[in-house]
Amino acid sequence: MSNQQQQQQQPSATQRLQPKKQTMEDAYSPPANFLEIDVCNPETHGLNKDRYTDYEIRLRTNLPVFKLKESSVRRRYSDFEWLRAELERDSKIVVPKLPGKALKLQLPFRGGDGRFDDEFIEERRKGLEEFINKVAGHPLAQNEKCLHMFLQEQTIDKAYVPGKVRTT
């Protein structure tokens, strides 16, 4: 090739690199990162001293790491505490904090419904929703069996064998 030809063919220093073409399917399919978790429908069960509140954890996703693309389970605050402890121990992430325990509200002389107060439950619900979305979206947490059991199995088997989810 002559020198002149070379000069004409040489790209300028700032010319864009040639990108690969994107297929129509890739461009217009729903994104592969869809994950939505709602914490909703709080219900208080039982009577008097033995009451407790639980929440519906509703999940919708298209991530392959979750076995079910849609799931709905009920969980209470102590279940969230269990999940947090398991993740702190087994995964390498620093797990975010849960919304506060209701200790102050359980003092005898306090007025109102204490921890069954509508306002308190709503605050807690929001905090739990924020918590579970942060956690479930973390690539490292998604590898933990405890997270999948928490989100998608009807009951939590606390005697389970901790471990990682095998990637398919």
């Binding site: 020198n3 390498k92 992430i93 979206g137």
Partner: protein, 392 residues
């Protein structure tokens, strides 16, 4: 010019030749001030005049000899007591005697080797050539073989990207052209940015002090990409305060530059990939005087291999396909808003990969036809700056 008091009897003045026409360069001093010093290149003659002015017009100065020294030295801030001299030349100006009148001595340090560029660091290294009040720039020719950097990295099943930068060696006014190609996106990305990071490494071994400085941050994408998308990168280096990459200067310190690609997801988790790039100072069009026989021979050898085809086009770059590393093997790091505990071998372990890559480049030199790009125009001469800079 500099004045040194000589007690009450005389004053000494050093005047460098051509100081009014010589280019000057700015250096930041230890106290943060910027000062301009005359600029010299390796191999250039440093010459001038020394004036000794007697304070009293009929006074006399008895002395044991007058000499001028040319010193190149490295000061490490944390090692204050030790100044390391790597160049030292002396000229005797006058034998011991008595000065009864003002005297002026010419001096000339011919073809002085100035192997290292002046550098003032934030890691508190002071100027290399401070006492001489001159500034040295080490120039390099446009590298012959400047392959692109192309790598596939990611987190298993979550995020796979292929990034490409058009070169591995950039000059200080160059443009970084590249692209990011998304192979798999299972996280919700909010934006992506590229950063230029300077790392100073002072000392060696266990006492090495690292200091990182982010010189530039540049957002290259806003919003969530999907699989198959390519995001272009164009980063002009002339806007930033950069020096050439320095490797193991006098075995005392190094300055390295990295491009840091950072992706941030909706939960403020950061995914990043650091990649070292070599920066060099490009010579002007004018040829510099040849300083030694060795260099002459070197040029001759390279010329025979010189004239050649275009630079390897970006479509067929030096392929560095590193398989997307698992988090554990460490060149990609997930740092969530909830900071993660240190992952084994995570973070900065990509140095071995880089070294490997560089080694490969050298081996392939024979087959590649080095380019003669017109806009850069210095493809005509090559010098192995590396050995002069102390790189092994």
């Amino acid at each position: 010019m500099s004045f040194f008091g000589f007690g009450p009897s005389a004053e000494i003045e050093i005047l460098l030749d051509g100081s009014d026409t010589r280019k000057a360069a700015e250096l930041k001093l230890e106290d943060g001030r910027k000062e301009r010093f005359p600029l010299y290149y390796d191999g250039e003659t440093v010459s001038g005049k020394v004036n000794v002015v007697l304070k009293k017009s009929n006074g006399k100065l008895e002395h044991q000899g007058i000499k001028i020294e040319f010193i190149g030295q490295i000061d490490l801030y944390f090692d204050r007591g030790n100044r390391h001299e790597f160049v030292s030349m002396v000229r005797e100006l006058a034998r011991p005697g008595i000065l009864t009148q003002n005297a002026s001595y010419n001096f000339e340090f011919v073809n002085v080797e100035k192997p290292y560029e002046s550098y003032t660091g934030s890691n508190r290294l002071s100027d290399l050539v401070k006492e001489q009040e001159i500034c040295v720039h080490t120039l390099a020719q446009y590298p012959d073989l400047n392959s692109s950097i192309k790598m596939e990295v990611g987190i298993e099943d979550c995020l796979h990207i292929e990034f490409e930068y058009n070169k591995s060696k950039y000059h200080l006014k160059d443009v970084i052209v590249g692209k990011i190609y998304f192979l798999l996106v299972r996280i919700k990305i909010k934006h992506m940015e590229i950063q230029v990071i300077k790392r100073e490494i002072a000392g060696s071994g266990p006492n090495a002090l690292n200091e990182n400085e982010t010189l530039a941050k540049f957002e290259i994408m806003d919003g969530a990409p999907v699989r198959g998308e390519s995001i272009p990168i164009r980063l002009f280096l002339s806007g930033y305060d950069l020096t050439p990459t320095m490797r193991d200067i006098n075995k005392k310190f190094s300055v390295k530059y990295y491009l840091n690609l950072v992706l941030v997801d909706e939960e403020e988790r950061r995914y990043f990939k650091q990649q070292e790039v070599t920066l060099f100072r490009k010579a002007d069009k004018k040829r510099r005087p040849i300083a030694s026989n060795m260099i002459e021979r070197g040029i001759f050898h390279h010329r025979t291999a010189q004239f050649g085809g275009p630079q390897p086009p970006p479509q067929q770059p030096q392929q560095q396909t590193v398989e997307s590393p698992e988090l554990e093997t460490g060149s990609t790091h997930v740092s969530p808003a909830m900071p993660s505990k240190p992952v084994a071998a995570a973070g900065q372990s990509e140095e071995p990969d880089d070294d490997e890559a560089e080694a490969d480049d050298d081996e392939e030199d024979e087959d590649e036809e080095p380019e003669a790009e017109d806009e850069d125009n210095d493809g005509d001469r090559q010098e192995d700056r590396d050995s002069k800079n102390g790189q092994l």
